[in-house]
Amino acid sequence: MRTTAKSVTLAMAASVVALAAAHAQDDSLTIVSWGGAYTESQDKAYHQPYAEKTGTEILQEDKSAQALAGIRSQVEAGNVTWDVVDMLQADAQRACDEGLIMEIPHDEWLAEAPDGTPPSEDFIEGTLGDCFIPQILYATMFAYNTEAFDGEGPQTIADIWDTEKFPGTRALQNIPQKNLEWALIADGVSPDEVYDVLATQEGQDRAFAKLDEIRDNIIWWSEGAQPPQMLADGEAAIATAYNGRIFNAQVNEDQPFEIMWDGQMFEVDGWVVPVGNDDELELIKDYLYFATDTQRLADQAKYISYAPARKSSVPKVGQHAELGIDMKPHMPTQDENFQNAVQFNTDFWADYGDALEERFNAWLAQ
């Protein structure tokens, strides 16, 4: 009897090991991203050409909204299943500081620009992190459904708080980031002082008090695909959103949406590699070399209106792949759109994120 038990246990253990080994050896990459139109643009610009070229199978997961927590728990449990993760710069900085993602020698891993400029000089200043390869520069800003307003829609951040002149539900993301900045700007703080004010107790109280003013007009979204949907359904008249998503709804779905560029907050998004992926490192490096070169980054802008993070890619941004419209005016970095832009401060949020997020969650649930 005992020997049977033993052999069964052994057989079970062996099959588990065999399964794990099979998983490790197969020629596939698990790439985590944000889903929706954004993942689609990556799929067309990076994944499909790469799969065609090398035969690698690319598995996609739409988990980037929980990227930091996901990597943290995978690394802590010693069971890393994500190979390449699309992540915000602020989160990447934290993950890097906590040793959860690999350090990346950019000049060693990545392709040079066509004119021979090394990668470390080709990416936009201040966007390269120790563990981070920037991909795109995107904006979060307010957008509205033109059908929700008889006349002109809101034009400034202050208009967003004017529920008399611009009635209707506002859809905001259920995080403190950017909402608190906009609340302060609406309250009259000048954009370049926002973060100094928000670092003080009074500034934080002020931002929350300002949000309280429109609390009854707010519904919350958590995934980037939701705000265009909420605007289209009429559940919201105004929504904060990523500019690429609104662009997608405008051109691909003919939605009557308008982007309000005033007070747009831009930040960088890019790739990281969780630690514990040593078995597949060569494949990951090969993929990243391919997917972050000048042409590929410019290609992504054919499908979605995010600005490439490489300077050498900018002149190559052309027309939309299917619709033939010029993509340049839709880029958040276009002069006209960029006038009142605020740079999202990743350092500030690395320091104050915990406390403000906790307070924000408590505020939400009350």
């Binding site: 038990a5 670092a199 559940e235 320091d351 649930a365």
Partner: protein, 434 residues
């Protein structure tokens, strides 16, 4: 279960054996029947145990071990002692009244060097930053500049960043050197350590968990009450109507029960949202005008409506199974002895349904209190439960896994206590689950 069946199998032949004569019976090979039987029984029992072994192993791996891990995680606090070991031991002699002496700073510098090398310093910094916003920059900023510094480190550190003179920072480090901490349980009840080390209530704008535990409890109670109110008459109808009609009714109860939870929740979204079916009807009927559509979802109403609907079968089915066994003659007897219909119902029928009612209440309430997906989908911000905040503490970019573990442990203990109390009150062996 397997034990008792094995025993009962063994019993019948042995009892026939003793009946048939006083002479000791033996099997073909000469061993006494009793011994041979006992052997066979033992073998059967072992085999039965072997059959449940996979389930036991499964439960151990997927249920018992994770719960133990969760509980241990909720009190662990390894960051400072593990990633700043030199500082942790050097600071023990510090009196807490002025900026620590050079030896503490030197120990910190040594820890930083190792921590930058292994990239573990960020974890310690993240832990400290949670209590003192901005401390992360102080620690990591100075650590990056460490290469250009030379002893004495105290002056060098303070020159680099005046965050190093903050006594709260050092007191926190001293307090955080304990590897077992109650701090996550304090947080789970909206308390915290003050800078001087006393346990105090948190600032009002951080308080959320006590309120959410209470909300979860009262909303679960309300949902249970609604289920009784709606389920009792239905179960009674099911049990008393002629078979043909009651079968049809039963299907109406079971169909939604077999439908996916997500489908039913989404269906409620379609019905209740502001541009949804119910609002459209009300507008069409002229009860409300189109600018004042009622918000019935993404708030408490949404959670209560959807959850009552989803949990209703868990009330109806145990009630039905008990009501089905109550002979109609009892009620007739009561009536014939002069009781009114109401009196007969209250004094005869209702007490007999209590085992089913209690089972239904227990099922619905305990299921409700841990509900996650429905409140998350239709609860908006005022209709969420404690489980939603547990999830938030597990997934957000500033996830606090240990706080989530503490909250989950509290929820688990609360459910166990409730179950115990319920057992004292009603007696779990009296319950009938259908």
């Amino acid at each position: 279960m397997s034990d008792s069946s094995a025993a009962s199998h063994g019993q019948s032949p042995s009892s026939t054996g003793s009946q048939s004569g006083t002479e000791q019976l033996t099997t073909a090979d000469g061993t006494p029947l009793r011994i041979s039987l006992r052997k066979a029984e033992a073998r059967a029992r072992r085999r039965a145990f072997f059959l449940v072994l996979p389930l036991l192993a499964f439960l151990l791996v997927t249920f018992a071990i994770p719960i133990v891990q969760m509980i241990s995680r909720s009190v662990r606090n390894p960051e400072v002692s593990e990633y700043l070991p030199n500082t942790a031991s050097a600071i023990q002699n510090w009196n807490g009244q002025e900026v620590p002496p050079e030896e503490v700073f030197a120990a910190m510098a040594a820890d930083m060097e190792v921590g930058m090398e292994n990239r573990t310093l960020g974890r310690a910094a993240a832990r400290i930053n949670r209590e003192i916003p901005g401390a992360r920059s102080t620690v990591l900023g100075t650590a990056r500049a460490l290469d250009e510094m030379s002893p004495p480190y105290k002056e060098a550190f303070i020159a680099d960043d005046d965050g190093w003179t903050n006594l709260e920072f050092w007191r926190l480090i001293k307090r955080e050197t304990r590897t077992i901490t109650p701090v996550y349980y304090l947080l789970a009840f909206d308390y915290e350590y003050s800078p001087s080390g006393e346990i105090v209530e948190r600032a009002e704008y951080y308080q959320v968990y006590r309120m959410l535990f209470l909300r979860t409890a009262w909303m679960s109670l309300l949902i249970t009450a609604l289920c009784i109110l709606l389920g009792y008459p239905v179960a009674h109808l099911l049990a008393t109507l002629p078979l043909k009609t009651s079968n049809l009714l039963m299907i109406l109860v079971l169909l939604p029960f077999w439908t996916s939870l997500l489908v039913r929740t989404s269906a409620w979204i379609v019905l209740l949202q502001q541009q949804g079916v119910v609002n459209d009807m009300l507008v069409w009927l002229g009860v409300i005008d189109t600018d004042n559509r009622v918000r019935m979802i993404y708030n408490q109403i949404g959670t209560i409506v959807a959850m009552t609907h989803i949990l209703l079968p868990f009330m109806i089915l145990p009630l039905y199974s008990v009501m089905k066994t109550i002979p109609p003659s009892y009620m007739r007897a009561a009536r014939s002895l002069g009781a009114t219909q109401l009196r007969a119902f209250v004094t005869v029928y209702m007490p007999l349904t209590i085992p089913g009612l209690a089972a239904g209440v227990l099922l619905v309430f305990i299921l409700a209190i841990g509900y996650y997906i429905t409140p998350a989908l239709v609860g908006g911000d005022t209709g969420i439960f404690i489980s939603n905040l547990i999830a938030q503490n597990m997934t957000g970019s500033t996830a606090q896994l240990r706080l989530a573990a503490a909250l989950a442990t509290i929820l688990l203990v609360a459910v166990l206590v409730l179950y115990w109390a319920f057992n004292k009150l009603v007696g779990v062996d009296r319950l009938k689950f259908g």
